[in-house]
Symmetry: C2
Subunit: 615 residues, 2 copies
C-alpha cells in the first residue's frame, strides 16, 4: 500500500474509532475528531517521532491536542500505534478508564491536560522553549488546535511569544471545521482570517485543504524546514467528515452518532491497521552547571521585603539546581525575579504582560522536567486562574510567587492588591499555599519549594518587614511558628505575612494590660498546622485571626476548617479586609481595615473581657 492509501485507510480507522468510542460511551465529540483525522494520519505516519514504549525519552516529539474534546481521535492514534488495545479504547469515558472525556496525563503519552480551550498551544510554547533553550534537543512540538478556540486571547499570547522566542520547533495545526459548539465560528471557513493574524505575529503560515493527504504531507515537510519561525498550518476541514448524516451539519457537536453501525459501514468498517510511529534519535538534554546552595541570610532586627528575599533566594536555589527556571510577567524589578534573571539568564524567560502564557509556559516547562517559578503581582495571577486550575488537572508541579499581597502595598490602590489570592489558590486541588512574614523564612521556604509537588503558591509582601527569625531556622510545610506562648495565655492571635508583625505588637500592648496572648505565625496556609491551632484553642479558648485578605476563603476560614477537622472548639473572631480599600499609606490602610496591632488588640481585649464578664 502506498503512502497515500495507507494514510487514507488510517484516517478512516481514526474516524471509525471515534464513532465507536462515542457510541460505547453514549457521549463524546466524534465529529470533532473526524474533521482532523487526515491531518493526524499523515502526522503520525510520516512526521511524528515518538517512542510509545518510552514516553519519557528526552528526544520524543510532543503532540498536544489543544482541542482536547477531540480525544477520541487521540485515543484512536494510541490504538493504531499499539499503545492501547481495542478493548481499552472502548473504555472511553467510563469510570476508572484513563481515557477520559478530555486527555489528561493519567495517560502515559499525554503531557498536559486540555479541555479548557485555548491552553494547548500556550503549553506547547513552554515545551518548545524547553527544547530550544534548555534541553537543546531537536524535538518538535505539534499542537492540534480547534478553530473555535482561536477566539481565546491566550492563543494570541502564544502566537506572540512563540514568534518572539523564534520557536521553529513548534507547529500548530488549526482544524478549521467551521462549526463551533452552537453554530458557525466567527470566521467560518475564511481561512485567510487566521492566516492574516498569524502572519501579522510573524509566523510562517501554510493554508491547505485538511483532507488532501498530499497537501498535508507537503505542509508538514515545509513546516519542519522553516528556520527561526514557528509554523501554523491552517487547514480547511469538514466536521464529521466521512459520514453524510453529520458532515458539516450543525447540531452534532459533542454528540454520539444516531446510527453508529451505519456510520462505521459508510466509513469502510472496523479495521486494525497498525502504524510504526518513527522513533526519535537518542539524545540527552543539556545540563546546567551548578554550585552549592548559599541562601541569603538576613540579620534579625534588620528589615527586608519578602519579595526581595524571594528573588535572592530563588537566585541561590538556581545556582544549586540546574533544573530551576524562572518566568516573570514584565514586573521582575518588583517581584525581584530579575535577580534570578541576572544570575541565570539562560534559564530566565521574560513573558511580558501575558500572565496566561506565563503560567502555561510553566506548565509546558515542567512537563519537560524543569522546576518553573513564575512570578507577578499576586493580584495578576488571577488573570491565569483557569490555567492554574487546569495545571492541577495536568498533575503539574509548578511554583507561583505572587508579590504585592493585600492592602499593605498602599498608594497604588485596589487594582494592584491581591485580596482573593489565598482563597483562589487554596481552592486548587493539591495546592500548597505559603505566606512568609520575614526574609529568612521566605528564603527557607523558597529553598524547599522545588521538592514539593503540585501547585505551590508563595505570597510575598511589597513593604519591608522586620526580620524576626534566624537564618538557620526551619519552616516545614504544614507547620506554624508559635512566637509567644505561656501557660497563662488567655487568647491566641493568628496571623500570616504582614499581620504576624501586627499580632506581635498587639501581644505586647495586651501584655501591658495584663492580658497574655499566644501568637502564631501561620505561614503555611495549606496544609495548615491543625494540631498547633487545636492546642491553642484548647489552651486559650479564644482565637483572633488577622489577615490582609478578604474574609472569604483566607486565613480565618482555613483556621476554622482546621479546628473543625481537629474537633477543637474555640471562640474565633476573624479580622480581615471587609471594605473596598483605597489608596493610602500602608499603615493607614491596615488601621482602617482593623488588621493592625491596635485592631487586633482591641478585638482580643473585647474577647477576653466579654467572656470574663459573662462567666
Amino acid at each position: 500500500m502506498g503512502d497515500v492509501d495507507r494514510r487514507r485507510a488510517l484516517a478512516q480507522q481514526f474516524r471509525v474509532d471515534s464513532v465507536r468510542c462515542a457510541a460505547a460511551a453514549k457521549s463524546g465529540h466524534p465529529t470533532s475528531g473526524m474533521s482532523a483525522a487526515d491531518l493526524m494520519a499523515v502526522l503520525v505516519d510520516g512526521y511524528l517521532h515518538y517512542d510509545f514504549d518510552n514516553p519519557d525519552a528526552p528526544t520524543n516529539d510532543r503532540l498536544i491536542f489543544s482541542k482536547g474534546h477531540a480525544s477520541t481521535l487521540l485515543y484512536a492514534i494510541f490504538r493504531a500505534a499499539g499503545a492501547i488495545s481495542d478493548e481499552e479504547l472502548l473504555t472511553y469515558r467510563q469510570y476508572g478508564s484513563m481515557l477520559e472525556g478530555h486527555p489528561t496525563p493519567l495517560i502515559p503519552w499525554v503531557d498536559v491536560a486540555t479541555g479548557s480551550l485555548g491552553q494547548g498551544l500556550p503549553f506547547g510554547v513552554g515545551m518548545a522553549l524547553a527544547g530550544k533553550r534548555l534541553d537543546r534537543l531537536p524535538y518538535r512540538i505539534w499542537v492540534l488546535c480547534g478553530d473555535s478556540e482561536m477566539a481565546e486571547g491566550s492563543m494570541w499570547e502564544a502566537f506572540e511569544h512563540a514568534a518572539f522566542y523564534e520557536l521553529d520547533n513548534l507547529t500548530a495545526i488549526i482544524d478549521v471545521n467551521r462549526l463551533g459548539q452552537r453554530g458557525e465560528t466567527m470566521h467560518g471557513w475564511d481561512l485567510s482570517s487566521y492566516t492574516r493574524r498569524a502572519e501579522s505575529y510573524g509566523w510562517a503560515v501554510i493554508e491547505i485543504d485538511g483532507h488532501d493527504l498530499d497537501a498535508i504531507d507537503r505542509a508538514y515537510e515545509e513546516a519542519t524546514s522553516i528556520d527561526r519561525r514557528p509554523t501554523v498550518i491552517v487547514a480547511r476541514t469538514i466536521k464529521g467528515k466521512g459520514v453524510k448524516e453529520v458532515e458539516n451539519k450543525e447540531g452534532w457537536h459533542g454528540k454520539p452518532l444516531d446510527d453508529p453501525d451505519a456510520a462505521i459501514a459508510e466509513l469502510g468498517g472496523i479495521t486494525n491497521l497498525v502504524i510504526e510511529v518513527a522513533k526519535p534519535d537518542p539524545g540527552e538534554p543539556h545540563r546546567f552547571e551548578t554550585t552549592g546552595l548559599e541562601l541569603p541570610r538576613y540579620e534579625v532586627g534588620s528589615e527586608v521585603a519578602t519579595r526581595k528575599a524571594y528573588g535572592e533566594a530563588l537566585s541561590a536555589v538556581g545556582a544549586a539546581r540546574g533544573d530551576v527556571v524562572a518566568l516573570d510577567g514584565e514586573v521582575g524589578n518588583s517581584t525581584f525575579a530579575e535577580i534570578f534573571g541576572k544570575a541565570h539568564p539562560d534559564r530566565y524567560f521574560e513573558m511580558y504582560i501575558a500572565e496566561q502564557q506565563m503560567v502555561a509556559a510553566a506548565v509546558g516547562l515542567q512537563a519537560r522536567n524543569y522546576k518553573p517559578f513564575g512570578s507577578t503581582f499576586a493580584a495578576f495571577l488571577s488573570r491565569a486562574y483557569d490555567f492554574v486550575r487546569m495545571a492541577a488537572i495536568s498533575r503539574a508541579t509548578l511554583y507561583l510567587a505572587g508579590s504585592h499581597a493585600g492592602i499593605s502595598i498602599g498608594e497604588d490602590g485596589p487594582s494592584q492588591m491581591a485580596l482573593e489570592d489565598i482563597a483562589s489558590m487554596r481552592a486548587v486541588h493539591g495546592s500548597t499555599v505559603l505566606h512568609p512574614c520575614d526574609g529568612n523564612q521566605t528564603a527557607k521556604l523558597v529553598a524547599g519549594m522545588p521538592d514539593l509537588t503540585g501547585i505551590v503558591f508563595l505570597r510575598t509582601l511589597r513593604p519591608n518587614t522586620p526580620v524576626i527569625y534566624g537564618a538557620d531556622e526551619e519552616f516545614p510545610i504544614g507547620g506554624s511558628r508559635v512566637l509567644r506562648s505561656s501557660e497563662e495565655d488567655e487568647v491566641t492571635l493568628v496571623g500570616c505575612g504582614v499581620t504576624v508583625h501586627e499580632a506581635l505588637k498587639a501581644a505586647d500592648a495586651l501584655a501591658g494590660e495584663g492580658i497574655t496572648a499566644r501568637v502564631i505565625d501561620c505561614y503555611s496556609l495549606k496544609p495548615i498546622d491543625g494540631a498547633t491551632l487545636a492546642d491553642a484553642a484548647e489552651a486559650t479558648g479564644r482565637i483572633v485571626t488577622a489577615e490582609d485578605h478578604w474574609p472569604e476563603g483566607g486565613l480565618g476560614e482555613a483556621v476554622l476548617a482546621a479546628l473543625a477537622s481537629a474537633e477543637a472548639q474555640a471562640h474565633v473572631v476573624r479580622l480581615a479586609v471587609t471594605e473596598m480599600p483605597r489608596s493610602g499609606k500602608p499603615e493607614q490602610l491596615l488601621s482602617v481595615a482593623g488588621i493592625d496591632a491596635q485592631g487586633i488588640a482591641a478585638t482580643a481585649r473585647r474577647l477576653v473581657r466579654t467572656q470574663v464578664t459573662a462567666s
Copy 2:
C-alpha cells in the same frame, strides 16, 4: 492663541500636573502620563464630547484609560476641564481622595476601574456595543492604551470582537512609548508590529508621531469618519517627554521625578489653562418594549436542569425588563442562554470562546445602565477571574451564570467541572453567590437578580434534578430553606444544588434507622443564612455539610464562618470533593466522592452514634 499653540500649552500643563501629582504623593507614574499628554490634549480640546456637569448624560462620549497607571494625566484633564480644583488634584493617592493610584468610578467621570492592564479596551468594546446596538446613540468610546498591555491576549479578544461587531464608534489610541515597567517592551518603537496585527483583525489603523499635534488632529478626524470599522491610532511617543532627565530613559517607571521643581520649570511652569470640553448634543437612549413577567413554572415532582430553568427564566425576565441583556461564551445551547437569544436577539451578544471579553463587555454594558447576564460553564468563568475582581473595583453590577457545576456533570471529566467557583466567587468583594437546586427556585432567583447590586454569581447544574419547590415559593437572598425539621432532630444535613437532593435521600434513609435529620437547602451561599444555621447548630449539635466543590472556600467553610460569626457551636463535618475526579457517570462520581445520599447518611450516622456513645 491658535489651536496648535493652545493644545501645546495644554499638553505641557498636563505634564506639569503629572509631575506635581507624583511629587506631592511621593509615588505614581508621571512619565507614563507625559508620553500621552499631546494625544490627550488634542482629544479633549477638539474631539471629546462630554458634559462634566452631567456625567450621566446618555450622549456623552466615554474616555477610558486602559493604561490606568497614567492616572495623573487623567486627573490633569479633570483639572483643566474645571471638574476638580488644583487643591483636589494634589490629593492624588492620599487616603480619602477619590484620585486614587489607578482610576475608579469613585470619580464621577470614570466609568470603569483600570489598573490591571489589558482591560480598558475590552470594557470599551462593551460600551461601544451599548452605543451601537442598545442605546443607538452616536457617542464615541475613546480608549487610551499602553504599549506594554498589548501583550495581554484580552486586548486581542477586544480587537476581534470590536471588528466583528463593526464598532466604528470605538477609537483606541496606543501610546507606544517603548518602555514597559522593567525595560523595553517586546516591540519597542516598531509601530508596524501593532499596525500589522490590528489590520489583520480588520481595524482601521493610523500611525502617527504622538507628539505631532497636527498629525494627532488629523488622526482623530479620520478616526471619526470611518464606517463599520473600529480605528486604532498607533502613536510613537517618548516616555517622560518634556523633561530631559527622564525622557526615554529606563528606570523611571512608576516613580516621581527627582527634582520636580526643575522639571516643572523645564516644562514651562505651572499654568491654569481651562478648556471648554465640547458638550454632546442631547439625546435619549432607545428603549426596548416590554411585556409582563411570566416566569416558567415547573411541576413539583417533574425534573428539569437548573441551567434550563436559568435560560427560560432569563428569557422571561428579558421580556419584562428592557434593560436586561445577555452574553454567552459560545455555549448558549448548554447554558441555555440561547433561549434568551432567540426571544430577544437585539439584546443578545455572542462572545464566542472569549470569556475575558464576555465579562469585560458586561462591565462596559452595565456602565451604560444595562443589566448584563453573562454565561458559560462555571469552570470557564475562571478564565475571566481578574476581570471579575476588577469589576468589583469598578463597583459594577453584573450577573454571571456558571453552568455545569461540579462532578455531577459526569463523563466530560475534570476540565469541564467547576469545583473552585464558589470559593473564588465568594472571595470577590460585595459578591452574591447563589446555587439553586430546582427549577422553580432557579426561576425565582433569576427574577430577583436584576434588583441586586454588585457581582452576582448563579451556579447551575447540568443534570436534571427533581422539582421540589412550588412555583410560587419565594427565595430571598441570604435565606435558606429548611426542608426537614422536627423537635427530635439529632443532626443537620446542609446541602446546596445537587447535594440538596442527596441530603433529602440521606434523611429518608436515616429516618428508617430512627435517626431524625434536619435538612437545609443553603441556596444562598453569600450572604448565608447564619441564623438558620445557628438554630440548627443549637438544636442538633451536629452538622454535616455536603458540596459538589473542593473543600476549600465552599459551602462547608461558609457554614463554619457563619456559625463562628453567630457564636454558635456544633460538631461540623464537611463533605466535599477531595480527590481529582475522573470521567464517569454522575451518580458514580457523587458516590466515589462521598457526597451522595449514602455518603452523607454514613457520616451523619457516625456522628450521631459516636457522640451518643461518648456521652
